[in-house]
């Protein structure tokens, strides 16, 4: 563990040295600045893919690779997530045994609010995700909680994303809140630190390796990553949540994957979603 820590620290140092040239704010609480990071990331991709439109990054690899975009546009003509959204709507509007429903748990009756998730809860001292609050809503109303990765929770979340399409992502980092900043930094570190037997960071594939072939696959740019979740993946043949994707990706580095909704994954979602501020919600999406 000590060795891993030292290694991670070393990588962090090298990274901060490299990225600081692009005005990234580094990996310590003293220096970290989410807004500077967001601008640095956008500038990085503007430079890498000068022809891509910033607003198009919510479409992942299809923003930068025209060949796969064509195939994807054909898929989108009959969106594979359509039935799941309809089922999600029914689930969302089905009242609990106590007569209440999801609409009672969320602002604006749960409609058009996806862009505000995840958020930092000062009272609870943790990052709250939409899926987490869906299950908390159920629990508070005497219903059984849903499994995190797929099935009903993904459908309800998909419907809520659907009602929020084109809303601008607006993740807040409360000022002078050390806890929120620490959560952001934890997510950022997770994204850039190498892990697993294959020694891969998320950034290896989704920043420096974006749109470069791994066998026949093209990894997507990190900018825009969270906007289209939950996602219908052809590989899954069904809808899955963001944390299901995180677990799969984590496993691909030959790590022992974390469980959905663990604090680290929620912090990662917080960091990634903050990077997308200013882009539009387009969930649920369809991907390979």
């Amino acid at each position: 563990m000590k060795i891993i820590k030292t290694m991670a620290f070393g990588v962090g140092l090298v990274l901060s040295a490299q990225i600081s040239q692009a005005a990234d704010s580094g990996f310590t609480l003293e220096t970290v600045n989410p807004e500077a990071d967001r601008v640095a990331l956008q500038n990085y991709f503007k430079k890498r893919f000068p022809d891509a439109e910033l607003n198009d990054y919510v479409n992942g690899i299809y923003a930068v690779d025209s060949n796969s975009r064509e195939q994807w546009e054909e898929i989108e003509e009959f969106p594979p997530y359509e039935f799941a959204v309809e089922e999600g709507e029914v689930l969302f509007n089905t009242t609990f045994a106590n007569g209440k429903g999801y609409a009672d748990c969320f602002e604006n009756g749960g409609i058009g609010i996806r862009q505000n998730f995840p958020y930092w809860s000062k009272e609870e001292g943790t990052v709250k995700t939409l899926e987490m609050e869906i299950n908390e809503c159920r629990e508070a109303n005497g219903e059984k909680v849903l499994k995190w990765s797929k099935g009903d929770i993904a459908k309800v979340s998909a419907y809520m994303a659907w009602t929020s399409r084109d809303q601008i992502i607006d993740i807040k980092l409360p000022e002078n809140d050390a806890g929120a900043m620490a959560a952001y930094l934890d997510g950022k570190k997770f994204f850039y630190a190498k892990r697993g037997q294959l020694n891969l960071s998320c950034a290896n594939c989704h920043v420096q390796g974006a749109n470069i072939r791994i066998r026949a696959d093209l990894p997507s740019p990190q900018l825009g990553h969270t906007s289209h979740f939950p996602v219908f993946r052809s590989k899954w043949g069904e809808l899955g949540t963001l944390h299901r994707r995180y677990s799969g990706c984590h496993k691909d580095s030959r790590s022992h994957p974390l469980k959905p909704q663990t604090e680290t994954f929620r912090n990662l979602e917080y960091f990634q979603s903050y990077m997308n501020n200013g882009l539009a919600i387009n969930g649920p999406g369809a991907r390979k």
Binding site: V14, Q18, K194, N199, S201, G209, I214, A216, D217
Partner: protein
């Protein structure tokens, strides 16, 4: 004694020849093993990132440099082996997994894959 000498010479020659062909066979086997390591997803999976001029290496990726002019790029084979064993020594944020350091491949598999790519 005089008769013995040519006999000894002949035997010696034969021994050398057969040793030579045994070595060649060993080399061929090693290259074959190296190729399997290069292509197999659960072993080296080198093909996922490095193009190579081998008809069996289909749909190679291009995250890493192509496997060309290896003898010119790595006149010292040991330097190539060290790069396969742990590429992070030269670049800490490289996407290339440290195949030896993290026990992804055995030492014999690394030897074999080095022999295989050194042909290109």
């Amino acid at each position: 004694m005089r008769k013995l000498k040519p006999l000894l010479c002949a035997t010696g020659l034969l021994a050398m020849l057969s040793a030579g062909s045994a070595q060649a066979a060993g080399q061929e086997e090693m290259i074959e093993m190296g190729k399997a390591v290069y292509l197999n997803k659960s072993r080296g999976n080198c093909v996922s990132c490095h193009q190579i001029n081998d008809p069996d290496a289909t749909q190679a990726g291009n995250q890493g440099p192509p496997i060309v002019a290896m003898k010119q790029r790595f006149p010292d084979k040991a330097v190539l082996r060290a790069q396969v064993w742990d590429a992070t020594v030269n670049n800490p944020i490289t996407i290339m997994p440290p195949l030896g350091k993290h026990w992804i491949l055995s030492e014999a598999e690394i030897d074999a894959v080095v022999e295989y790519v050194y042909q290109f």
